[in-house]
Symmetry: C2
Subunit: 336 residues, 2 copies
DNA sequence: AACGTTTTCGGAAACGTTCTCGGGAATAAT
DNA sequence: ATTATTCCCGAGAACGTTTCCGAAAACGTT
């Protein structure tokens, strides 16, 4: 009552194992009729080639691994769906793992993927990125890999990123144009390129309008982090007139705390988020935020990866920068 | 420059392949010193047992597959994280796939998981569930599997579900107690047990208070579906005084449309959702919703699965019903 | 010294495939 | 009729492990 193997099929039809194999892999010489017969009876017998054995000998799996730091917020799921669209069409299956922002789990996940002989990887790093050396060795070994969103510059691999600098600039400019001169930036985790870029965009906007540099506070991406930092500001009584947060959840967390303490949004404090989450337009007041083309990010990452997989010989890593949009909503516009 | 295999290690140390294998699988007779030596030089050489080959011969992978219909909303991710906590601790790795509510993709995902020889499956069905026969055959073949949330009664497997009937009853009762007599239920996809249960809870509450049966409209779980049904009601000018939606996104979608058309929530229309999403408490007005113990669901599912994996011989499927909470917020309470 | 036991190891078969090689039969060409 | 060509197919090695079987070595017992 065990698995039906290629041998069973061969025996039943009194043909050789190789012939059965040929029937399942078109590329070999086999008479059309025999092929048909084999395929038919194989189906009847419930035979299906064992992919593990196939992987062992072919060294490919038609599986792609996607590694993300979290997927509570809709950002990563949306990216994944975008990537899946492309990959499934090409016959690949997508395996997803999440590290819950833990470098340790990230590493384990990574090894599991490699163990499963994925043909390629699409990864977004967790905020405490300690596995750079491992990634370097993977890249060196020739495993196709593309990074997105949470990226490290020094890794010589393809990347698809967002123009964080530019859109942080626009977001900040928007606040400045509204008349704000005392803006605090909730910046993301320090070791991410993305945090640095957003932070620099924030500064650049100040420079353009010749305003003294705004204050910056390091703040994680989560709602809790936003709440924490907002409370800190309230306790120190250093309330700015506007906040530019590096993520939507942290913006929303902050908004919640401020509202609870009697501040009115946007009249007392204007708030702008980043990385449009599905919440943005539904919370009160609706949150101004920079939206990223999540689907596109996934799709281009998938395409880059497929390119690399199909390229024999030297592959030259590319970095693709995608554009976004500033969705202006009530949280940043003074109303009377 | 290829992979380092067990043979390379054996050759270098002038021992047999089996001895090296023994060093990596404690259970066999091997002298402590030889083992140490082998492990040491293996590490130096960068050797790691190839899990594909191991799977082929051992027929197990220490991988668990989790199949969900979507993960844009935080519900499924939260469940997954709960399951992961338990599984990782036991040495299992978790592979996740999502079907985007498509039965076809669900089936493909399922086969991929099986292809990868997962030791067990945790699955929540997509709304158009057409793969029941396949699941039956999987269960029959003895593959450990547990279903959660989106469940089909007739499948003889372990399940962890929510007491949808009870909490739909409470949610409806809450609206009735607020004085509502004209409540519309946005029920979920018809073929899900969960929809039926919620719908019956809705009816039961009406019966208890001797109110004529409320109107029910089939509505998907997504925001778009909620918007669609709300528009329908507006066009037909059949505006109820309250809505009990089978999901938060559909409640939120409806709320959005009603607000855009000038209806005030909750004064003109009270709304209650289901399956607390992270949005609920942040939208305007905050949404009354039934919250499910997402983490618990994942954990119990994982535990049930591990039980089944470790049980040799006959396994008796269990169904575990978990409790929730009604979070009453402004969307359902008349204010003046 | 002869024999039994235990420890430690090597040989080789398995797991389920793919794929190269070579050969026989059928067909075409000379 | 002989040779060349094409078309099919079978044999068997390979992928990288685990694990059964048996044997050599070491040790203890009488």
């Amino acid at each position: 009552m065990k698995h039906i193997t290629i041998k069973d099929v061969a025996r039943k039809l009194k043909v050789s194992v190789s012939t059965v194999s040929r029937a399942f892999n078109d590329k070999y010489d086999i008479r059309a009729e025999t092929k048909e017969l084999i395929l038919k009876t194989a189906k009847e017998m419930g035979y299906k080639p064992n992919p593990i054995a196939r992987k062992l000998i072919q060294q490919r799996s038609l599986n792609i691994g996607i590694l993300v730091p979290e997927f509570i917020n809709s950002f990563f799921p949306e990216v994944i769906i975008g990537a899946q669209e492309i990959l499934i069409e090409k016959g690949y299956q997508v395996l997803i793992m999440q590290s819950n922002e833990s470098a340790e789990i990230e590493l384990k996940n990574l090894e599991t993927m490699l163990d499963n002989m994925v043909d390629g990887l699409i990864v977004s790093l967790c905020s405490e990125n300690k596995n750079i050396e491992r990634y370097k060795s993977i890249i060196e070994s020739g495993t196709p890999i593309v990074f997105f969103n949470r990226v490290i510059e020094e890794l010589p691999a393809s990347k698809v990123v967002f123009d964080d600098y530019k859109w942080a600039f626009f977001a900040t400019e928007h606040l400045i144009v509204q008349g704000h001169r005392d803006i605090v930036h909730f910046s993301g985790p320090k070791n991410l390129t993305l945090s640095k870029n957003r932070s620099q965009g924030f500064d650049a906007a100040h420079r353009k309008y010749k305003i003294s540099e705004g204050k910056k506070i390091t703040c994680g991406f989560s709602m809790e982090e936003g709440e924490r930092v907002a409370l800190e500001l309230i306790e120190k009584n250093e309330i700015p007139t506007a906040i530019f947060a590096a993520s939507d959840p942290s913006a929303i967390g902050a908004m919640k705390v401020f509202k609870e303490h009697g501040y009115r949004i946007p009249n007392d404090i204007a708030i702008v988020g980043f990385s449009e989450s599905s919440l943005a337009e539904h919370i009160a007041p609706p949150l101004t935020s920079v939206s990223q083309p999540t689907g596109d990010i996934g799709q281009t990452a998938a395409k880059l990866l497929l390119d690399q997989i199909e390229t024999t010989g030297l592959f030259i890593p590319q970095t693709i920068i995608l554009n976004g949009r500033l969705n202006v909503r009530e949280s940043s516009i003074k109303v009377d």
